[in-house]
Amino acid sequence: MSEAVQDTNAQKPPIADRTIEEPSPAERARKRMFGHFGFMFGAIVLLGILAIAFLAPLISPHDPLDQQLARKLIPPIWHDSPKATWVHPLGTDQFGRDYLSRLIHGSQISLLIGFAAMLISGVIGTAIGVAAGYFGGKVDMVVNFVITTRLSLPVVLVALAVVSLVGNSLWIVICVLGLLIWDRFAVVMRSTTQQVRNLDYVAAAQAIGCSTPRIIFAEIMPNIVNNLIVVATVEMAHAIILEAALSFLGLGVQPPAPSWGLMIAEGKNHMLFDPWLVGIPGTALFILILSINLLGDGMRDITAPENRN
């Protein structure tokens, strides 16, 4: 790469031409973005799911909570069954609720919990991680201790216990998850801040007498935000999986809400004869998490190409 730059310099084209020959860093990043299969796949699928979640009341063909026992357990249309109908493309569950509508509305729950829990854990983890990385010394020791303590608590078990004791509403699940999964944010933000804080421009900012908040928000944060976004995708996927597991065990989102984890739990008892009851929401969950993970992996590749291996 540096050779190529030197070559163009050696030919000395007019400055106006040179800007055309050499794309700006932003342009190069955009090129890498569009050329990265995983990133594009993840971004498009996630945008699609987001659109579905936002348009849920408009696009879902039926009321997701409407029970009609007369039409229960209709198989999806690809089943070779006389009962399969285009009125219910993905069939109905054991209470006669339209499965496609439940799936569409379920995306709202997964995305809301994933995003909100990620936001809470992100704020906590970033705050203590950046503080530990920037101030070092005693602060670092305390933060390290807090992270170690948090890691030694089993997440699923503690989440289940707390939800069972405090009560289970959507917001309690979000808060419990948010308060539990900040560890990766803290670990990654701590180490990246440690790297950035020793750079010359931070020393320069300190030398000209910038206040500590200014240095952290104007000098350090912009340079660690790439890593922050990558961790945010990982933790969003993590929160979605945890919510599904909690709901699957009956202590997350409560029926009749169409959480995908809850749909799998409800379909479990009918799995023998109607395996699609478990297959469809599980596939939806898999695709959502896959797209978030691919987006995060792609983001890491694009922002730090040297980390590809």
Partner: protein, 305 residues
Amino acid sequence: MLIYALKRLSIALLVAVTVSLLTFSMIYLSGDPAMALAGESATQQDIENIRRVYGYDQPIIVQYFNWLANALQGDLGHSHYLKTEVSNVIFARLPVTMTLGACALGFALCLSIPLGVLAAMRPNTLIDRFALTLAVIGQALPSFWFALIMIFLFGVSLRWLPITGSASWMNFIMPSIALGYYVTPAVMRLTRAGMIEVLSSDYIRTARAKGLRPSVVLFKHALRNAIIPVVSLAAVQFGFMLGGSIVIETIFAINGLGQLAWESILRADLPMMQAIVLVLSCFYIVLTFLADLLNAFLDPRIRVS
């Protein structure tokens, strides 16, 4: 080495004390534990009695130290529901969960280390891409759903494996895979990255130049060094798996600690829940402590810093 070990030990003890404090405070999450225990039809007198019998009338700090002192002597309390000593039940169930965790870890390592080594030997080839794809898919599969799919395929349709229980080794195959596959991507990536780094180092070039057989270079010289970080990751993941086995044990009806935790949560059996969280946390603390010591023993640079 001794100084490092002592320093590390004191941190581990401090973490254990903090965890015990957190675990203890769990009973106050639901408000008044005596009221919760007494139920809705209890009179004020009943609640007062329960408060006195279980010691909830004492200052919280006294309660905590009583609880901790008992826990240190192996007495983790009395189960309200099962009417027995909590520690007896836990230590009867612990071996099952340990077996499951060990099998799951074994499965994960057997799959991920060879794949990671192969991927590192031929980076950016078909096998590398295959390993990477497997890792990406593995990370996106919710374990409880994967477990259900396996039950449907191998248990119900093909009838190869038993679905529930923990009677024979056959019962442990599917749960181990369901619990272990989630760890595979992380271990595989770490093995691959470590191997790529080591294989490009000078001493490997020297070993090759000496004319050593490729297998000797790969296993005796390269893998030995690349595997060091994997050891501590495996220890950490083993701890996570014991905590995460609650979902898998519930699905496969395995009579281990996870299912006990699940049942206790449903019965609101607080002493049992507390004890399980405490035991699993302490187990994790011991595991990471041992892994750190092992790492310091294998890599002298850690001891110094």
